[in-house]
Point group: C2
């Protein structure tokens, strides 16, 4: 349950609010302002590009849009100066870009996150009440904190041996989150998100983009490139499931976590072939034919270092829930993004 | 084997050279300049206090003493400007101090280590040959990267869940070491040292100090304070064994590590009671009577979060070797520090 000591209004700060998961989380809050346990009345939406305020009845939620880079001096301090009750940190340079630009990845994914934690730690200093501020902080981490070789199913007690700089930066931030929580500076929970599928909108620079592209694009009659083999297995969650993780993480009794503050979220383990089969069932062979195979050794090498399946029993015990199967993931996408209709479907 | 591309002389940079392990490593090099596989002809000894040059025949080893703080701007750059072949990084704020001073611990143990890695990464920039410099870097880590609850024996694939800021800082540095190695910026190997026992010299601020104090002090007729119960179990290595780990890490074929660049060193799992029994066998009941029990809840709480025993098979397979038992650890101390003689021994 989000802390509300001495106030009725709940103020939520979302960093990375213009991103896909951020937007969907905002939409969820707008649709159900009490979904976090107490009515949200203030939103601060931060990102490197302007986030979009939710469409809600006038006066229901006061929204502030802030544009800036978490790693810039004083930006994090400004964000937490008025002490939001809940901080949701989703901002990151994605894996492909963090691998291509070593300095940028560390600056944003690690230094930016650290700057946020430090700003929260010191947010009470000016008021002379440093001990009085310890907000819930939900941090989005990634299954890329793990690195091959893997056991068949990866449990929460496996060593983090990332094989990308992105995974390294997230793993370091997980360690910081635990220490800042143990010290009482923040009430942190890290959630290791599966790869989001079907990711709506335009392709981004994530190396994992093709997992969504090969479903999203053919569904609307467009070609998509598949850079890896059909038997590549991966770990997925729908945007709907991801938003559910955030909501649950914001409300969870964190004393149940002890000092192990990051939890691998439950997901669906499926192959590229499973994705294509589900696409065929929903949209027919013409859609499947829009998948163009163009093997890319760089992408294949990165993906080979990623995990395939997890033992997420800890998350399940904590009440997090996953998608049932690839057909359910596709159905959620068609409902949420395409108005329940598959344009390319031959009737 | 230490890299010696295009040169005969081997130049070793030791950071934390004035510390106990550093001094013993230097003494080992002085006694056997070829112990690293090729004759050491240059030593750069860095620490926050002046390190002591080894006593060697004139001209055999050129030694430079450098005083400074690794976390200070440009200090790391200056250390690696002339591209040492081997960098041994032993400098750290110890666990008790890192817990007491949050900012100092992060600044030295994490930011200082990161500054060193960055300096190495950029050491070739000025010469226009950035890809040409990738020295072996031996990084001393700690078993405090693990945190309770533990399995009976802790393997190298267990998640790092430190319960101190010191352990967090070392765990983060381990992750950096792996990523900088994977990127080809450094040829890193991290070695998780057991608690050093018997640590010679004056007590330091490490929370683990009493494990050595209760042996070292009574051996020379002085009182020592024991802040925990006799059944507290811990994981030990003698200074001799620790120096052996450094020498082996400097020479090891790191391709055997893959990208999992940090290895838990083999040690001796023993209780405080085992220590006291060995002391009694060597120095008699009068020495044992010098141990004064003064329970300290803070120390006890910190120590309760530390590991007790490891499965160090990976290190053993890589050729690292441990002490046989507590009597051997005591015997090594008496030989190396007391000239083979126990002053307080009633004959």
């Amino acid at each position: 349950m989000v802390q509300r000591v001495g106030r009725i209004a709940v103020h939520v700060l979302i960093i990375g609010a213009a991103g896909m998961v951020g937007r969907k989380f905002i939409a969820r809050i707008a649709a159900d302002p009490a979904c976090l346990g107490a009515p949200v009345t203030r939103l601060t939406l931060a990102d490197v590009v302007p986030a979009v305020a939710p469409a809600v009845p006038a006066g229901q939620i006061t929204t502030r849009i802030v544009v800036g880079d978490l790693a810039e001096a004083d930006f994090a301090e400004a964000l937490v100066a008025d002490r939001p009750d809940l901080v949701v940190h989703l901002a990151a340079v994605v894996s492909g870009e963090a691998e291509a630009d070593f300095d940028k990845g560390y600056r944003v994914n690690f230094d930016g996150t650290r700057a946020l934690f430090e700003a929260i730690r010191h947010a009470g200093d000016a008021t002379g009440n440093p001990a009085g501020y310890c907000p819930r902080l939900v941090f989005s981490s990634t299954s890329a904190v793990f690195g091959a070789p893997f056991p068949d199913r990866i449990g929460d007690d496996l060593a983090l041996t990332p094989l990308t700089s992105y995974g390294t930066q997230k793993a370091m931030a997980e360690l910081l989150l635990a220490d800042y929580s143990r010290r009482g500076f923040v009430d942190g929970i890290g959630i290791r998100l599966p790869t989001i599928c079907v990711r709506p909108g335009a392709p981004n620079r994530a190396a994992s983009g093709f997992f969504s592209n090969i479903l999203r694009e053919p569904l609307v009659g467009r070609e998509a490139v598949l850079p890896v083999d059909d038997d590549v297995r991966h770990w997925f969650a729908s945007p709907r499931a991801a938003v559910g993780f955030l909501v649950h993480a914001a409300r969870l009794d964190t004393t149940r976590l002890g000092w192990r503050r990051t939890v691998t979220m439950p997901g669906l383990s499926a192959t590229v072939g499973d994705e294509i089969a589900a696409l065929g069932r929903v949209a027919g062979p013409a859609a499947v034919a829009l998948i163009r195979r163009e093997p890319d050794p760089t992408i294949a090498r990165i993906v080979a270092g990623w995990p395939r399946a997890f033992d997420a029993r800890r998350a399940l015990e904590l009440g997090f829930t996953a998608d049932a199967d690839m057909d359910a993931i596709l159905a959620a996408h068609i409902e949420d993004e395409l108005g329940g209709h598959v344009p390319g479907r031959a009737v």
